[in-house]
Symmetry: C2
Subunit: 562 residues, 2 copies
Amino acid sequence: MEFSELIKTATVEDVLLSRPGVAAVRGTLCITSHHLLLSSCPRGDLELWLLIRNVDAVEKRVQNLGWYQPPRSGGSLRDTGVSGSSGTITLRCKDLRVLQLEIPGMEQCLNVASSIEALSSVDSVMMLYPFFHRPPGLRLQQGWHLGVAERHLQRVAAQTSQWRLSTVNGDFSACPSYPRAVLVPAAVGDEAVAKAARFRQGGRFPVLCYFHPKNGTVSPSAFCPSAFCPCAFCPSVPLNGGFQLQRIPESGDPKPNPLQSTKAHQTAHGSVPSARGRPLQESFARLAEACGDPAPSMERWLGRLEGSRWLSHVKAALSTACLAAQCLDREGCSVLVHGAEGTDTTLLVTALAQLILDPACRTLEGFQELLEREWIQAGHPFQLRCARSASSHARGKQEAPVFLLFLDCVWQLSRQFPFSLEFGEQLLLTLLDNAYASAYGTFLCNNEKERSLCKVRESTHSLWAWLNQPEEKDKYLNPLYSHNPLVIWPSVEPQSIQLWQGFFLRWIRPSQHLDEARVEIQRLVQGKNSSLQESTGKRLSQSLPESPAGTENGETGTAGTR
Amino acid sequence: MEFSELIKTATVEDVLLSRPGVAAVRGTLCITSHHLLLSSCPRGDLELWLLIRNVDAVEKRVQNLGWYQPPRSGGSLRDTGVSGSSGTITLRCKDLRVLQLEIPGMEQCLNVASSIEALSSVDSVMMLYPFFHRPPGLRLQQGWHLGVAERHLQRVAAQTSQWRLSTVNGDFSACPSYPRAVLVPAAVGDEAVAKAARFRQGGRFPVLCYFHPKNGTVSPSAFCPSAFCPCAFCPSVPLNGGFQLQRIPESGDPKPNPLQSTKAHQTAHGSVPSARGRPLQESFARLAEACGDPAPSMERWLGRLEGSRWLSHVKAALSTACLAAQCLDREGCSVLVHGAEGTDTTLLVTALAQLILDPACRTLEGFQELLEREWIQAGHPFQLRCARSASSHARGKQEAPVFLLFLDCVWQLSRQFPFSLEFGEQLLLTLLDNAYASAYGTFLCNNEKERSLCKVRESTHSLWAWLNQPEEKDKYLNPLYSHNPLVIWPSVEPQSIQLWQGFFLRWIRPSQHLDEARVEIQRLVQGKNSSLQESTGKRLSQSLPESPAGTENGETGTAGTR
């Protein structure tokens, strides 16, 4: 396939671009293999530079005016097809932006629409923009966090004698959606692991994903992101949606034999009722639609917010993560996390619980490593889940905004603990945008095996490399961050959960003032640090622990699990 | 009346105090004329120091255990009445705090309850705590903003020849709820004003409350907080709730003759549907109850939030204020603001519109003056409106949280414009607390006439004097404040209006981390200002205008009135 075959019209003049909250602008529209550009007419400014992959749905409305329309003064009407007709294309983007293009000439309009539709739906991964994007100043293979996950696993393995690093999946034969290196119980040989994998959906045998070294004790507290078959081995009835947490008593080692291990388990009462697949996707679509409602009454808005059930999903995800974290931190128990396929809700819960428990995951670097480990390498199928967003009418069965739900939960944490995360909202937005449409290869494909086959690491740039450039990085830092060594127990009461306006209303009511406030605080901190480096710099990074005795001793924590 | 007659039991030992989010504590309860004290048993710390006036409702539950209960070890059971019985008193405070007291002995429990009930319901203003409170370091008559309102009126009168300062109400005979000095049309003599007042409900003839000197023009843009009779003079049908805005065309001077002036008016489409009296009080009660719901589902919470209609009132109040402000700023028209009695919604709208329009009202000092002028001296009946709060079962017909609604709207402004108000949430909370129960005289009585009769200014301390002490003042400042000379047009879409968690959830989910963030930012600003005073101090106060061209040219402004 050649891109040129898909582009029926490459340039259209006299196009009117309208966006909510911004004055409409007229200019020349260009369609390239990967981008939609619009440069304004009198001044030649580039007004729009949109990755076509970002387009979720194309709506067109053409009208044949039926009479001769003279060229407008100032603009030129180059429609050589059906004179006097025009059309409007509405582009609904995956990041919830809505753009409207008024195009002279019915035929041109239809050509533009079908070009955008075709280009935004290219199936082949290796035809996507990341394989063509070559940003200046970055080298290929830079910042791929190569070996980061392995080093993490080695560190964990060094802390306990009960788990060992295994390369049983070195060729992705045991589990195609796991990475090459995994942690398995020390007592179990690779052969037994490979055998056990055959009894699991997708081969996702239990592996260790987090070891909680509380107070220096080496209790084998661990999350195992694993997918059990909805199976005869499992004596406990799976909760709604096939999701459950299982508490492993202190005495028992979690072994990959499900019969053996699940017998010893006690089922904890954790569930994420419907935070998966279709219901979650519909919830997202309903909320996005409600947010775009131009002038609802307060009653109608609150009704639609409730009806979307999105905040219920957020609450459920946070509650379950708190429950899992509590088992590790309070009871010193290990936890086995079961999801239907082990690639969605399971990762949501284990990643959130790690953020709650582990201060290392709350730095900018640590959070990137957490994402790399718990989402990308652990096999969340980004390509399937993020193929379409809230407004596409061609939604497949595999789409689900699980990653969005995770980032929303992280945002709730960052709001409740304004000091404890080193990164701010802008990072969460950037990650989300890149998961759905990106110039970088980080979120491409569904798992490590596919990434390896497509040579993603060899042929595309890493999002991390770009984000971590000094001039970029500043945008993502939380100026108020101060290392907090404690567990952060969020309040998960409905009254405490808020709509993530920064994402859901980003293009509707720009929060420019709030962004400026962040920049100003950052400037203050930098000014202070540079001028008072010795005297107060230390105080800044040490003061104000956020989880004092009251929080740490369980009040918020127990609230977290009701 | 002597307070001692109302106090049936002055001291009770072995009382257990429980509060949400705080560990229960056992100690000795003391009831004084104005306070409820509890000092903990082993350590003697003062655990509670509550102004009894803050108690909104007292609920008691007694239980006769019917068998002999031995004294607990460590505590002594001094119940000489009915041995083995006990009781629980729940105090619902006007600031939405809920306290529970477990008291040994049924009779003691009933005595405590009836003492608190009696002391919290004292009718006579001059028996209230402000008349007894003598804080060290403050002089009586200090900080009463004496003459501030008059000076303001003189300034305004100097700007225009069409209005003049009148003392027609010098003895409160024309309008008992107006202050002594008011601005009236220059063309109308005092005698005509006094005559016109007789045709208005409560005598509230039209007066000038704000003169908008936009771009140096002297167009007679003005708000007139006035209460027209729901009357024959008025050709336009009053909108829901009897509230309306009337636009006065540029040519016409607003004259106090309603017939003459209203004929020339065009009714604008502004209304605050039910932001008054009973519906507002019920809305507040329903929301407070929903916030206290310990573990609702997300659906239930959002349903109750919607059902309370509180956010609808907030939206309506902000929309109407925007509409009024728009008439002045965009159209150069004067506006006549009509409320039912002219002492509630009218003041809400005129005060909010001034905050939106006038940067001087957004400083700490300017805001205090605005409150003094537009609420206290303009005759908002604080004593009637704030006699009881959300949970009293003995609510009179006159209670209404109009002032709370105003402060909630101010909070919405402060959230949308984080740089533009010099004061922060803590000031709004303090003002609210003092409006309902105070040690200071500022919010006592219903109008200037009553305050004068009770000698409030001679016999009580001013809240402003206390707030403006250097060590207090710091708590109320917004560290990010930077003078913004522009009009701030808030977004009033339902999606942009948020629940004021800092007030409604204050005692349920303490926002300690957010308070710490504020303190930290404040520390940063102070550190920066002191160390880099010359170089960056100026930049700080000049940078980052919040209403750039895009806002100023109407986008948000028009949104504000949909």
